[in-house]
């Protein structure tokens, strides 16, 4: 049962992965346009990646973290309401939640540019209340980038969260009521722990793509909000320094893996998938 999927991934994921690893440890020779890569255990690529682009790495993790927390906070009420209070409209609501994501995210991001435009009413309104960031605008700030990341990936928090919440056995809640638990107690001791797998899955599904993202920083960011994804893209496609680009990719992946392992340890759920 497991074999087909494993075989597929083996060929189309592991093999390219390994060749990329080789590249990250190689040096580049030959002409610019038809480079020759020589495998040379060249760890210098990694040190270069880590030192030159430390800022972007830190920034990416910071933004992704912010986006994940924001997603969790926003998704929880919605998932909760759908799971517990929607009744017959449950599937309809779910469908509604998924609906926006059938529009390509590029178009949705461009729409945000229209909404958050410098002269638009959103910025004006926030300006009069005094809630604008220091640059005096919303676009081309880190807030816009984090907002964009949140918006892009929130669906991946809502769905797993809903799934976990929905599975909570009603009898458990009944029982806690029988034992005279207050709402808050019930939430903290019963609902939240049972929803954790969903939170975990959702967090991972939001955090990981956010760290490597470059589209949001591109469209909604400024020169000061570049993320590691932007750097990798530039290195691969413009500067064409494949060894360093590959090294950076692996640094990113390694950091993500470390973060993931720590997170799952902390939450105590050993079955992270």
């Amino acid at each position: 049962m497991v074999l087909p999927a494993l075989a597929y991934l083996g060929v189309f994921y592991v093999v390219p992965f390994v060749s990329l690893l080789r590249t990250s440890l190689s040096t580049m020779g030959g002409s610019v346009y038809l480079p020759k890569l020589t495998f040379a255990w060249h760890f210098g690529n990694y040190t270069q990646a880590l030192t030159e682009y430390r800022d972007q790495i830190l920034r990416s993790f910071g933004y992704a973290l912010a986006a994940t927390v924001l997603c969790a906070l926003l998704a929880f009420p919605l998932a909760y309401v759908i799971a517990f209070k929607a009744g017959r409209f449950k599937n309809l609501l779910l469908g509604l939640v998924i609906l926006p994501f059938f529009v390509t995210f590029l178009i949705r991001t461009i729409a945000w540019k229209t909404i958050l435009a410098d002269g638009g009413w959103v910025v004006d309104a926030l300006g009069t209340v005094g809630l604008l960031p220091s640059e005096g605008r919303l676009l081309s700030t880190s807030y816009a980038v984090i907002g964009g990341l949140t918006y892009n990936w929130i669906i991946f928090m809502i769905l797993p969260l809903y799934v976990s919440l929905e599975k909570i056995d009603a009898r458990l809640l009944e029982a806690s009521r029988d034992l005279y638990a207050s709402n808050r107690r019930m939430f903290g001791k019963v609902i939240l722990p049972l929803a954790l797998p969903g939170v975990l899955a959702g967090s991972l599904l939001v955090f990981i793509p956010s760290v490597g993202d470059f589209i949001n920083a591109d469209y909604l960011g400024s020169t000061k909000t570049t993320m590691i994804g932007n750097v990798i893209q530039k290195q691969f496609l413009v500067v064409k320094d494949y060894p360093v680009a590959a090294a950076m990719s692996f640094v990113l992946m390694a950091l993500i893996l470390v973060g993931v392992l720590l997170y799952t340890r902390a939450l105590g759920t050993e079955d992270l998938v």
Binding site: Y33, R137, S140, S222
Partner: protein
């Protein structure tokens, strides 16, 4: 060609401006169209058939299918259909050419192995075309089929990149300049230094493509894209970095400065002339200026890869494009600067406003201020790209 205005183009104009009346024009076009095309077609055929060929080309008629890979929206409505009717060829037209470097990255492997890349004719920007020529991946364009070559602008005919234009046929050219919102700036913008005016802090954007971003800055500092040095480039990069660090520059953009300009997020931007023509239609406050010290121009060129499956058809296409009347239709839609000379008459027939627009039909004085980039060596390309990427990507 005939002196009449093509009704199909009229219909297109009407629909682009306001949809009122478009219906009637479209109906007229349907009735008058085919007969007009037939007249065009007859003339074309006689022109190409009558010329004497060079030894390489046997002069036989081109047949079959032509696959073109072009930039998005770089083509006028109905142009391809007209070409197909005129020549009897079928065209498989794809708009998948979005970025030179990225196209190259995707196609260099198959090209290096002489494997077909899915296109018989591509439209790279000149620097990319030079690179492809240098690698030996371009086919010569037969002069016997390209009889309209004489219509080319004189300044383009003997470019350093391809003297005599043996391998490349310029398709569209454009001017790099400064686009700005006159109402927002409160004054006219005239030089590159205006980009660094503290009054515009955080509302300025530069282009992320190295040649386009650095060209005018280099010139403003006394250098020249026709003869660039590492010191000159580094000096320009340093100036940009300085301004980026103090928050002057909001973003480095591809062509996507357009929406920021339209929305007012950006007040002064490095821009391409063709984009500004479009933006001006909806916002007359937007102005375009070629900096005092000069600026660079870009040329997108048609090129036949050596893996082409239909050389003759590709050459027919090039020749068809180089007919002034046909080309005028392209210009009217694409709104960039013609690569053919003396387009004023043909443009006047189709769209007098286009003929008068200095961004579409610039006067010689403007053209004189423009310099094209010299073809860069491998080392230069890498070094310059790296230097600029350090500012834009970091």
């Amino acid at each position: 060609m005939t002196q009449q205005i093509d009704p199909r183009v009229l219909a297109q104009m009407a629909s682009r401006r306001r949809f009122i009346g478009g219906g009637a024009a479209a109906a007229a076009a349907m009735i008058l169209g085919p007969s007009f095309l037939a007249a065009c077609g007859a003339e074309n055929k006689s022109a190409s058939g009558g010329s004497s060929g060079s030894t390489a080309d046997d002069g036989s008629k081109a047949t079959g299918k032509l696959r073109i890979s072009n930039w998005p929206l770089y083509m006028a409505d109905g142009f391809i259909a007209a070409f197909q009717t005129a020549t009897g060829l079928t065209v498989d037209y794809k708009e998948d050419f979005n970025d030179n470097e990225e196209w190259f990255a995707k196609n260099k492997e198959p090209l290096s192995r002489k494997q077909d890349i899915g296109a018989d004719l591509v439209v790279p920007t000149e620097f990319m075309a030079s690179r492809l020529m240098g690698l030996g991946w371009a086919n010569e364009i037969s002069d016997s089929r390209w009889t309209n070559k004489k219509n080319m602008r004189a300044d383009l005919l003997n470019a350093k990149a391809d003297p005599g234009r043996k391998f490349t046929a310029p398709y569209m050219s454009g001017i790099l300049g400064l686009a700005y919102n006159r109402a927002a700036t409160g004054r006219t913008i005239t030089k590159v230094d205006d980009l660094w005016d503290p009054a515009f802090k955080g509302k300025v954007s530069l282009l992320s493509e190295m040649r386009d971003g650095l060209g005018m800055v280099l010139i403003s500092q006394g250098g020249s894209p026709a003869d660039p040095t590492m010191e000159g480039i580094q000096k320009a990069v340093d100036l940009i970095k300085e301004n980026k660090d103090r928050g002057q520059i909001r973003r480095f953009t591809g062509n996507d400065y357009a929406d920021d300009l339209a929305a007012g997020n950006i007040i002064v931007a490095q821009a391409y002339s063709g984009d500004v023509v479009q933006l001006q239609k909806d916002n007359p406050d937007l102005q375009f200026v070629v900096p005092e010290a000069g600026s660079n121009t870009f040329v997108d060129t048609m090129m036949i890869p050596y893996t082409t499956q239909n050389q003759k058809a590709a050459e027919e296409w090039i020749n068809y494009v180089y007919d002034r009347a046909n080309y005028a239709k392209l210009i009217d839609f694409v709104n960039y600067v013609p690569v053919l000379s003396d387009m004023t008459d043909e443009l006047n027939k189709i769209n007098p406003d286009a003929a008068k627009n200095p961004l579409i039909n610039p006067p010689q004085s403007t053209l004189d201020k423009l310099t094209a980039w010299a073809p860069l060596t491998d080392e230069q390309t890498v070094a310059f790209n790296k230097a600029y990427a350090a500012v834009t990507g970091a």
